[in-house]
Amino acid sequence: MDHEEKQREELPLGQNRPIQLVVSRNEAEGVTIDLGRVFHTMKVKGRIFAWVLVLCLTVGVCAPLLLYQFTKSPLKVSSVVTLRYEVPVKVEQTNEKGEKELVIPEDPEYEPVSDLTAPDGTELDVNQLTSTYVLQNALEGLTLSANISPAQLAGNIRIQTVLTEESRRTREALAGLAEAKNASAYERLQTAEMKYENRFIVSLTNGFGEEDSRNKVMLKDEELSLVLDRVLAAYNSYLVRTYADTRLPEDTFSVIDIAALDVLDSLDQIRTALSGLNTYITDKSETVQAYRSWQTGKTLTDWAETLATVQSVDLDYLQARVNAEAVTRNKTALLTGWKYQLRNSKNQLDEINENIAETRKILASYKNDEVYISMQESDAVKSTRAATDYYNELVLKQTENYEKVAELKATIADYEDRIARLETAKATEVSEEVEAELARTLDSATGLYTGIRDHMEEIFDSPLYTTYEDYSMPQGKTEGFLKASAKKMIIGGVIGVVLACGLWFLAGLAPEFSRGRKGKEAAAK
């Protein structure tokens, strides 16, 4: 430390005393940096480093934008799909092995779907959404900026089912226990029956092609949403096509040739056809029966009422006259026909009666199971008789037989009465009036059939029948490149500025070090 430096150290602060930074105060080597000179040097080099600052700032801001082009994640659009249809209510039944299981009864009741059950009561295979059939239909007629195949599309679709609250809790609880190495919990976790909500989430990710491929086909954002929308619409069509009962009522009226058939035969055929039409209506679910047409203002229930009216005011009225007056085109032929029908009915009755007698014998001698239950605590044994399923089936079968017998007896009595009347009465020729009335009856019945068929066609085209799934519009949007990189740009800019300032400071500092080294070399000399 020379004399001048000593004097400066002794000066009080605030009196133009230069700030000195002592990097190392060693007896052997010591470097003192004068910050005043550092800043002076920086000021001198400001002409260059101002531009370095601008350059670093520009690089810092632009680098994230460049990076975004390579690292941006492909857009993913998602849609929530909710199932909307009615499913048959299952009932508990014991199977052959004696296990209880849920089955669909012959005449089931319907309720809105609450889980992932298909409209026919089986488990819904949601993966059909990615089937070639559905995807091909979805892509058909779709103009896209790039061509994608159904296989490529299937690879980018993800389906996520949603567990019910209860199942989720069960799984979480069992998973916790399993983690704690609880063997039974682990086993239960494997076998636990999980229930799902009646909705699932479908996502479609942009970038189509091989998984490792660098050159993936990219669609525009709106195209991606459109593709998912079409896929879900196609899946809905698939569900309708697979599960909807779009069977129209059978046209049994157009084949009734009233000119060729005898009047009573024609009336019988019309009655049978009307009965079939009525069964068709009653077989439909309550929701379908309550649908009101926008064309006629009627529901299927209304049509069923009209059917009953037609039967009463047209058919029965004419039949009463024809029966009473023995109106026929050919008495002998009609009698032969009825006698044949009577014989058939009697044969059927004999067969069922035989069946009834046999079943009665079986039921009388049938031995049901005797069940013994031993009580663990008291060592006592209790017993009860348990009817087997077969026994119960036999009992119910016998009831059905009685019903059939009742129907057949009524038919036989009717035929016997008809035959007796026709044999004793003098046959009446078919008058023009009867012909006209018969034609009107057939017209009324045909009109009824046409009305019901049109009504059903309208239902089959309506959202009531064609909406098996309700889905939200695919959601998801790529952020603008400026918006997406804004934060990174700011950070990059700050880093650039800091870097430039650092360089600038170092540039101001460097002469101080070189001066110190030179001074040391001079002192050494």
Binding site: T82, E165, A324, I373, A387, A413
Partner: protein, 492 residues
């Protein structure tokens, strides 16, 4: 000197930026035009009728927007736009896209839904119950590049206007089709009443349904509600019943004999059925009595109760239910038989009355033909008998005329109520679906031009990096030149 150098560099940088900017823009323009972006017209369709937010149309049924792409709508729109010969419905259908618009928070919820494994019930119901009420309808022009933007927008406007009418037709309650007066006239009195009764009860049920759907709806100066209409049909029903009673009790018919045959046939048929059902009931009854229900034992094991046995419960219940069904059917048949028998009795009473009158008259005529003295008495008796027959016939005729008038009055009254119902339905439809509740707005054309925002973005994305690189190079060169100057200055 220093100032001149700086200006020189700044000028050079500016020139480089401009040149690169121009190159980038030109490049973007080439790429943009080569992409052949499609021209389209779009509009927003807003649904604000009651129930739209719940996905229910004014008639209470679920609705969708697929109707906009039907042949019916598109052909009508083409015709309205005067383009029916130029394009087909199929061409438009391929280019028409309808997308629902969801609010921002719903979008967020939906996208976050996947990760929210602990989503609460409220959130889930919000998601599943949400129905879009705003739709963006976009018509792309791939079918004629020569079609102007104005015409394309006009066509879209027509499609939306036609769709509104289509929507009103398909999704609002329609007037019910009933039997016509001409149709009724071809039937007998009782048949006509049966048909009228059917129509009236159906209309009443319809009015009741609508009352539930539109409680607040009032029509006309009398502020009629659908419930009022239901009451009117109820009153019509009572009138029909009264008329039916008169016809039945007096056995009035256009063909009395035939009516009698009909009743007899009904009784006969019902009796056959009754006989067989009674037999069935006896057999099922025996079955129920013979069926032994088994005992149920509850076993307590491990703190839980387990049931043993009890397999017969279900079968026994089914048997009992069957017996009840047969009993009910028998009761219904008995009621029918009683009704027809009563009708026949009414008919025979009326017939006996007429027959008795005729018989008495004939007897009087026969007994008084022997002497001349009694000839005058006989004539008087014949006159009295004729008078009695005439009176009966007159009475019958009067009754018939009165019934026919009553029937006509019922038909007319029903037609009036039906007319009012149709008017109400029309008014309800217009109230629910109109230009305000199904409104289309903001029809505009998006054309791929070099003045569009899409091109500006493209230019920015293409020219931006070029300009940035150019700028950086210029600055780097400037720095190098300054460093050289510095060195030279130091050297000097």
């Amino acid at each position: 000197m220093k100032g001149t150098t700086q200006t020189h560099w700044l000028r050079t940088t500016l020139i480089v930026l401009i040149v690169l900017g121009l190159i980038g823009t030109a490049l973007a323009a080439v790429m943009f035009t080569r992409e052949k972006a499609r021209t389209s017209a779009s509009a927003t369709l807003q649904l604000s009728f009651s129930g739209s937010a719940e996905g229910r149309a004014p008639n209470g049924d679920p609705f969708d927007m697929t109707g906009i792409t039907t042949d019916e709508v598109l052909n009508a729109a083409l015709e309205a736009a005067g383009l029916s010969g130029s394009y087909t419905a199929a061409q438009l259908r391929e280019n028409l896209i309808v997308t629902g618009v969801y609010p921002e928070n719903i979008v967020k919820r939906m996208t976050e839904y996947v990760s929210l494994l602990d989503a609460n019930t409220e959130l889930q119901s919000t998601l599943s119950d949400y129905h879009a009420t705003q739709y963006t309808v976009r018509l792309y022009n791939d079918f004629d590049t020569g079609l102007s933007g104005v015409k394309l927008t006009g066509l879209l406007d027509e499609i939306l206007a036609v769709f509104r009418n289509w929507f009103a037709k398909h999704y609002t309650p329609a007037a019910m089709v009933n039997h016509t007066a001409e149709e009724l006239a071809t039937y007998d009195y009782s048949q006509q009443l049966e048909m009228l009764k059917e129509d009236s009860s159906q209309q009443q049920r319809y009015a009741d349904e609508l009352e539930t759907l539109a409680k607040d709806f009032r029509y006309g100066s009398e502020k009629t509600t659908f419930a009022d209409l239901g009451v009117k049909y109820q009153s019509l029903d009572s009138e029909i019943d009264r008329l039916s009673a008169t016809i039945t009790l007096n056995a009035l018919s256009t063909d009395r004999e035939r009516l009698q045959k009909r009743y007899e046939m009904e009784i006969r048929n019902q009796q056959y059925r009754l006989t067989s059902l009674t037999e069935e009931l006896t057999q099922i009854g025996e079955q129920v009595d013979a069926y032994e229900k088994e005992g149920i034992i509850y076993v307590s094991a491990g703190g839980t109760l387990r049931e043993a046995g009890g397999n017969t419960k279900k079968t026994y219940d089914q048997l009992v239910a069957k017996r009840k069904a047969v009993t009910d059917e028998i009761a219904a048949i008995n009621a029918k038989i009683a009704l027809y028998e009563a009708r026949l009795a009414d008919m025979s009473e009326t017939g006996t009355a007429a027959g008795k009158t005729t018989g008495t008259t004939e007897e009087t005529a026969d007994g008084d033909g022997d002497t001349a003295e009694t000839a005058g008495t006989a004539e008087t008796a014949e006159e009295t008998a004729d008078q009695m027959i005439r009176m009966t016939e007159e009475e019958q005729e009067q009754l018939r005329a009165s019934v026919e008038a009553g029937l006509q009055s019922v038909i007319t009254r029903k037609a009036t109520i039906d007319g009012e119902f149709a008017g109400m339905l029309k008014a309800y439809s217009e109230q629910e679906i109109n230009t305000r509740t199904v409104s289309a707005a903001g029809a505009k054309v998006q054309k791929a031009s070099l003045l569009s925002g899409a091109f500006a973005m493209r230019a920015l994305r293409t020219a931006g990096p070029l300009c940035a690189v150019g700028f950086m190079v210029c600055i780097a060169l400037l720095i190098i030149s300054r460093l050289k100057e510095e060195k030279q200055r130091k050297g000097a």
